[in-house]
Every structure is written in C-alpha cells, then in structure tokens.
C-alpha cells in the first residue's frame, strides 16, 4: 500500500511539474503581459519599465528557475494587476467555486446514478427511453445555452430566481442546476451501461439461482459492481466540473476561480494563471488519487493496482 501510494504520489508530482512547466512555457512564449496590462496607449518606456519590474526581460530559463525556486519556498508570486499575493487572490475565489461545484457534484450523483440504475433495471421501457433521451440531450446541449435558457425562464420570465451575482443562496440555484444537469446526464448514461453490463454477468444469475429476490440481487450484488466503472467516470467528471465552472461562472457573473482564470488569461496576469492552473491540477491529481483509493475499496481485485482500463 505504502509503496503503491508513494509511486502514485511520485507520478502525480511528475505530472504536476509537467503541468506547471507547460503552462509556464506557453504563457511566457506567447505574448507580453506588459502591453496587455499597461493598455493600448502605454508608451514604450512604461512597458519596458513594467517588464523590468516583473523580471520579464530576463531569459526564459532564468525566469523558469526563479519561478520554481519561488514555488518551493511557498511563494507563488504576485498578481501583476493589483500586486496582491496570488495565493490570496486565488483562495479568495475558492469558496465561491466550491459553493457551485460541490452542490453540483451532489446533484450529479443524486440525480444521475438513480436515473441510470432505474433505466437499466427497466431496460427498453418508456421510462428508460425518456431517461436516456434526457441524458443524451443533457450531454449534447452546450452548458451556456442551457444556462441562458434557464435564466430566460426562471429569472426574466418567471422572476423566481436572480439571474446573476452572488448576493444570496438563491443566486446559486441556476448555476448549480446548469452544472448539475450536464453531469447528471453523463453519469446516468454511464451508470446505465455499467448496470446493464453487470446485470448480464454470471454472478447475477448465480445470486438469482440461490433464490434471492430480485430486489436483493440488485441491491446486494449489482450495485456495488456497477459502482466500479461509475467511479472512474466520477473521477473524470471532476475535471468537467472545473471546466464547466469556467463557462457557468461567466454566464452568471459568479466570481469564482473559473472567472478568475478567464479574466487573468485575458489580462495576461501570469502569476495568477499559473496559481489557478496549479491549484486545479493539484485538485485533479488529488481527486484522481481519491478515485484510485475508492476504486480499491469498492473493487477488491484492484487493491494495490492502478485501475487497469480507466477510460
């Protein structure tokens, strides 16, 4: 276990270093934050001064090592826009994003899994068809279109819910619904096919042959097995949630990490972009490791091994 965890951690660290390096190189090679932040009319001397102040005039590798040195001493730099410590800038946004993603995640699970299981158990029934059409549609509608439609219906027409901003918990409902729906649809699809696959297995027949009532067969034997492939999807869904947050936060003017990223990218606020990406990458790596561990717990065959065929 320990060795496994260590090697997993090592790979995680390698991939995080890769992420950071990649982002660093992409960011530095591709455009000069000075012009962006200083604006259209800034005189060249101002831009030069800015570059110098932020060390952008040094060779790339010098900047790179300086950056890494700083990261290891816990110093992720300052925002070029407002001079604040980027950790503070990012952390300030994290609660907002979590306020969307965590409930959305629960919506995903609470709606998607039961819907998928139900559809699988009633395969080819009318309800199965409906669930699947909903699920495929939910996957096929771009989230911003869904978001705008929800706003038109629930805010503008009905006036039930606020359309943007972050004043109360009611503001969170539409964004959560938007993010929840897409994920739930995806999860329902995967749960259904996982469940169908499990229901076709011999051990389900064995359980029936024992004389177990069908409901017990489903609850005791099928669900846990169906959870195995579903967990891998949940791991991927986390990435989808983060990406979804980028779009949804823009539509709903929700000041979360996603919007911070968009704004910082637009402003070439390198340190902030880097910190956000680093944070997302670490979250994803951690989430993937949690999924790995969960996987081991749910599937005794997988204990100590990485998932064989994570799709």
């Amino acid at each position: 276990m320990l060795q496994y965890l260590l090697s997993r951690l090592l790979r995680a660290a390698v991939s995080i270093v890769m992420v950071v390096t990649f982002v660093f190189v992409v960011l530095r090679m591709s455009g000069d934050p000075a012009t962006v932040i200083m604006g259209a009319d800034a005189p060249p001397e101002a831009i030069d001064a800015f570059r110098k102040a932020w060390g952008l005039d040094q060779p790339l590798w010098v900047q790179y090592f300086a950056f890494f040195e700083a990261v290891f001493s816990g110093e992720l730099g300052r925002s070029m826009r407002d001079g604040r410590d980027v950790v503070a800038v990012v952390l300030e946004r994290v609660p907002s994003t979590l306020a969307l993603t965590i409930p959305a995640f629960f919506v995903n699970i609470a709606v998607g899994i039961p819907a998928g299981v139900y559809a699988a158990l009633h395969r080819n029934s009318l309800i199965d068809r409906c669930v699947m059409v909903m699920a495929v549609t939910g996957f096929a509608v771009p989230s911003f279109i869904l978001a705008m439609l929800l706003v038109l219906i629930f805010s503008v027409t009905l006036g039930w819910l606020p359309s943007a901003g972050q004043d109360s918990w009611r503001n969170a409902i539409l964004p959560i619904a938007t993010m929840g729906f897409g994920g739930a649809a995806l999860l329902a699809r995967f749960t259904r096919s996982a469940m169908l696959e499990v229901l076709g297995q011999s051990y389900i027949r064995t359980a029936s042959a024992k004389g177990l009532p069908w409901s017990a067969v489903v609850w005791r034997h099928a669900l846990q097995n169906a959870a195995i492939p579903t967990i891998t999807i949940i791991g991927f869904m986390l990435g989808g949630l983060v990406a979804g947050a980028v779009v949804v936060e823009s539509v709903f003017s929700w000041p979360g990490v996603g919007r911070l990223l968009v704004v910082s990218v637009a402003n070439r606020d390198l340190a902030v972009v880097q910190a956000v990406v680093l944070m997302i990458a670490m979250t994803m790596v951690a989430a993937n490791m949690v999924v790995d561990v969960l996987y081991g717990l749910v599937d005794p065959r997988m204990q100590g091994q990485a998932r064989a065929a994570r799709r």
Partner: protein, 505 residues
Amino acid sequence: MPRFASAQSTERPAVTVAVQRISNSNTLEMLTEQSNVGTRIYTSYAETLIGNNWIGDMSLQPQLATSWKRVDDQTVDVDLREGVKFHNGDVMTAEDVAFSYGPDRMWGGGTVEVPENVKVVARQALPAFERIEVLGPHKIRLHNSSIDPVLEGRLSGSIGMIVSKRAFMEAKSWMDWARRPITTGPYAITEYKPDSVLTLSAFDDHWEGRPPLRQVRFVETPETASRINLLRSGGADFACDIPPDQIATVEADKRFKVVGGPINNTRYTVFNKSHPVLANPLVRQALTHSVDRNLIVESLWSGRTEVPRGLQWSFYGDFYIADHENPAYDPDKARALLRKAGYNGEPIPYRVLNDYYTAQTATAQINTENWRAVGLNIKLQMVENWGQISEGGPETRGIHDWSAAASLPDPYVQMSGSWGPLGSPWKSNQWRNEEFGKLSQELGSSTDKTRRIAVWRRMLQIIEIEDPAYVVLHRNASFTAKRADIKWTPAQSFVMDFRRHNWSA
C-alpha cells in the same frame, strides 16, 4: 470619525449598477487604472482639484479647488476648498494636495517605492510638471517646467484625484494603497471584491452635503445578456454598455429606458505606413474612401451616434475646423486610386480585438466587406490583446482599430500627443510625416492663436486626407439601461454621476 450612512438616512435609496468591468487593474487608484472602465467609477468616490461638467458642456468647474489663476505661462495658483473631509475623517489641507502630486504617489524617489508604470503614466499625463508649492493651508502653487496651454485641464484628469496623505502613508505598500484609496468623494468605498463587486456608501460628511443615495453598488457582469437580464429581473437598477441593437429589446418593457448617446470618444481605424502595401498613400486613400460611415451608424448604431468631422471636437471652440470633410464614401474613386497605385490584390492584414469597442467586430466585418468590394484584399485577424496587435514586423502589421478622446478645448494635447513625434505611432514607426511633425511642434509651442489654427487645419489635411494615418468612423456612444422611474442623466463620457444634482427618483 466620519459619519457614514446611518439610521436616519435609511430612506435614501440604494442602487445597483451592472457593469461589464469594475476595474481593469483591480485597483481603484487612477494612476494604475487608466482605462475607460475606471472612468465610470472613480468620480463617485474621488475628486480632483478642478472638475469637469460631464453631463453638460464638459467645461472645467471648481471642485476641490474653489478658484485658480495663471501666474504665468508655467505657473498656476490654486485656492483650495475649506472644510473638505477625507473618508477617514481627516480634513484636507494643502499638504494633502501637494502630497497627491508628490513623489511618493507619482514620481518615485520619495520614501515609498512607486511602481514603474505609475511613474510613466504620471509623466505622460503631466509631462512638464515640476512641483507644487504650499502657499498656505488652503493655497498652493503649481510649477511647470515649460509652457503648457492646457495646464488647468490637466489638473482635471483622473490621476489628479486628491488623496489623504496620512492614509497613504499608513498603507503597507503602494499597491495596497491602490486597492483601497482614501479620498474625498460623495461616496466612500466600503467593500471591493475584485472582478465581482464594488460597494460605495454615502459619505455624509461630504462638502456638498449628504449624497442622494445610501449606497451605490457596481456589480461586475461581463455578459451583455446577463446585464440586461439582471436589470429585467430586478437585480440591478442600471445596466451599462448596452449595445445599440439591444436598446429596443430593453425598452420593449416599459419599466426600463435606455439613455445615453455619443460620448467624447471617436472610433477610428489606423494604418501602418511601414507595411509595404500601405506605404503607398494612394492605397490608404482608397481605404479611406471605401468606408461607409453612415451605413455603420445607421445600421449598427440605429442612428444613435454621429460622424464627427475628422478627429476634432466641437468644444475645441475656435480650433474647430467646421468645414473639414471626411473622405467621402466613394467606391469608384477608391477603385481608381487603387488602379493608380498599381495595387494587385496583395493581402493587407487587419487586426481586430473581439469587441473591445462596442460593436467592434461587426464594424470590422462591414469595413472588410466594403474594402473587399473595391478590390482590396483585407485579411481579418481576430486577436486577443493589444500586445498581439503590435506583434511582428512591418509586413505583418497593417490596419487596426483605435479610439481617441479629448478632454481639453485645444487640439494640441490630443493630436500631437497621439500622432506627433511624441506619440506612440511615431515612435514605433507606424506613421510619420515630416511636415506634420514640424507643424505639431509649432502647435505646441506657438502662442499665436491664428497661426495655431492654420497649423491645425493643415495638420488635419495631412493626416486625414493627403497621407492618411487613419480613417475616422464615428463618435463612440455609450448607452445605459435604467429603471424608467429614475431621473438620471448620463454623461458625455463613461463617467456615471451620482451626485445630488443628477438624482431624483
């Protein structure tokens, strides 16, 4: 201690304003926030010595200065208003004014480390500023190192907001200060969440008396549709930056009204003379003759803005050349010019930012179509930021969009600053014209008004007709949607004025 909005003033309304951005730089100090965006917010919490009649004729007005007078070409004496309080309760003195224009805030070299870009911005805004001399608790004298016909005007610029010396020195660093400046405006900053919300509360100790609103909240809502929806769903009282096409949509609901119109900002499209094709003035002339301004104004702006006579403003007074004509929309002439220039369909890049200006992308597409129609091979390139516009060698840079504003009734600052030898196009070798350069210098140093007017006329002729550096499109317009029951007048600028004289509901 200051008295903020308290129980007895709860009957005053609070308003929410949906804006596209609150501050580009995430700071509230105008030395770092140099964008149009910042213009919208700062007049509510900060004041300058000399104010501007934004919703009127843009004339200069007393604000923190009660009066001023020229001592000589290089010196101005200013009397300061008495009894002005900062948001921290301190009373404003000449010390504070001198400090606001001093090295710690602007120039560097004092006790505080000033960001490089701040120094540059300050130097650009006040090119010949020397120092401020404190003549008394409420009297100062400003010394300039050279002649500046528009020195007073410069004092009304946003960077001249007067700040509390004590508060400044208490801040941990310059940038810390910039995020939470202590100033004298009618509303005080109570909360600022970057990229999200700026809350201002009534500052009841303001020298004009109690402000009309209990609270002003600027909510950042980048999506146009979201801003309109916020207004329509009651989440906001104002929605800024409404594209002209949406006016009808908003006004379809009788509860809302869209106000605003042309502002003191002109949209124009500029050429890079060092591009091999554009080096030929005939090609540039052809470009200017195939821009259909009126069509743009009619279609994209529903006629709600106007086409100025070149890059000048009617408030220039005597300097307004009333008979100056823009190059006419004349495709045949453009074709003839192209033939004469021997143009053979060589591609010309046109770099455009995605709606940095209102309807920019649409305008660019219209222009491209018109240019295409006369046989110009324009390659529309959408770019992300200003840096990418100026990227690459001369042959990769062709045409791009720009805008110009003027706040002083004299063409010198605006035109020579932008296009003269000190301007960035000149420096970056984008457009140079020897004659124009000489005239530009003369316009800045001459005090002979008639001569200056003649010079100015000639300059316009050169830069817009003979050796075009740009083609003027139209005045920019700013539209703000608001609750119909609110009586509030928009400014001829991005400024939003929430002072007593501009509010009743």
